[in-house]
Symmetry: C2
Subunit: 201 residues, 2 copies
């Protein structure tokens, strides 16, 4: 059995490598380097890298989930002044943001489910948990139907995938801008949920 201490140490080491990787991911350079080149740049051995990340795209998955969590946490500070609907759109935009930073090329490596380290269940569960948090932070008790929550979560997560796919396929189209398109799509999708319009925050 892995002890809590070991788990924490592991997470810390993963975080340290991620921190070193950030400038490379955010400049798009990460995608162009081999693991060996990347490890040389940040000054770790490839053995050390493989101890904490299974593959090059495993690190991207870690980045996407970690950054999305951080963005969501900072979003929470503004929750008291926001309507449920505004919270939902902001949350969705925060989940798109790290994917945008990663860039379409890395994104597609990350999203290719043939890579076993991209565990789609994990990110879907995280998405649902965060949406649930948004609802819980708005309503006292459970004035919403669990069914609606699941339905919204599924619809938004599928839409998110579609937006990202569209973005990937229109990389050479200067008229396509990820963030405004995403915001409009999410906003439009929420129009379908009439109970969002008579909510009190």
């Amino acid at each position: 059995m892995t002890s809590i201490k070991t788990t924490l140490k592991r997470k810390q080491a993963q975080q340290e490598i991620l921190q070193a990787a950030l400038p490379y991911i955010e400049s798009g350079k990460y995608n162009q380097l081999s693991i060996r080149e990347f490890c040389h740049e940040i000054g770790v051995t490839t053995g050390m890298f493989y101890r904490y990340y299974k593959t090059k795209s495993d690190l991207l998955a870690f980045y996407a989930i970690d950054t999305s969590k951080l963005l969501f946490d900072s979003l929470k500070d503004n929750f008291p002044t926001m309507s449920l609907r505004e919270k939902l759109v902001s949350f969705c935009m925060a989940s798109i943001k790290p994917l945008q930073t990663m860039g379409p090329e890395s994104l597609f490596v990350f999203l290719n489910v043939k890579n076993p380290e991209c565990n789609c269940d994990v990110s879907r569960q995280l998405f649902y948990d965060q949406i649930r948090y948004v609802f819980d932070s708005t309503y006292d008790g459970h004035q919403y139907a669990e069914e609606d929550l699941l339905d919204i979560s599924n619809q938004l997560v599928i839409l998110e995938k579609g937006i990202v796919y569209e973005w990937y396929s229109r990389q050479d189209d200067p008229t396509f801008e990820l963030m405004p398109v995403a915001e409009h799509c999410f906003d439009k999708a929420l129009d379908a949920y009439s109970f969002l319009n008579d909510e009190k925050s």
Copy 2:
């Protein structure tokens, strides 16, 4: 300049190869064969194949677009008895159907925009044209706003990509069934367009 006769001959040859390929595509066998093996099976030379299709996945793109057009044409027969909303959902389902038949593996080969033969603009334009036909067949003249039409078309095409992506990523999940999920997603998305609810067919 290519004459109409040459274009027609080309289309006919493409159709003949596609017809021969159908059982292989629909049984999932196409994906497992190399071009050479496939050509041997259907009795054409690889030279002949490459004369009419650029790559293996070019044939899949041709299949998807061709089948979707055929399904859409057969759908039109039932249009007089359908509401605008029913037509839109049926149209979307008809556009998913060939992708389902193709299977997730082939689908991903086809959807990978790195293959230049998968021209996303072509399929997006086709999607829009068919949605426009749905509207035109419902309203006399132009009682709908062009803006709404574009908005619905974009939203549905992005959603379609998300659904297909979700399907691809959940191939091993027995609880995920493409057709019911797709129908629910499209139907839910249309809830956002209030003018669909007070339309007359």
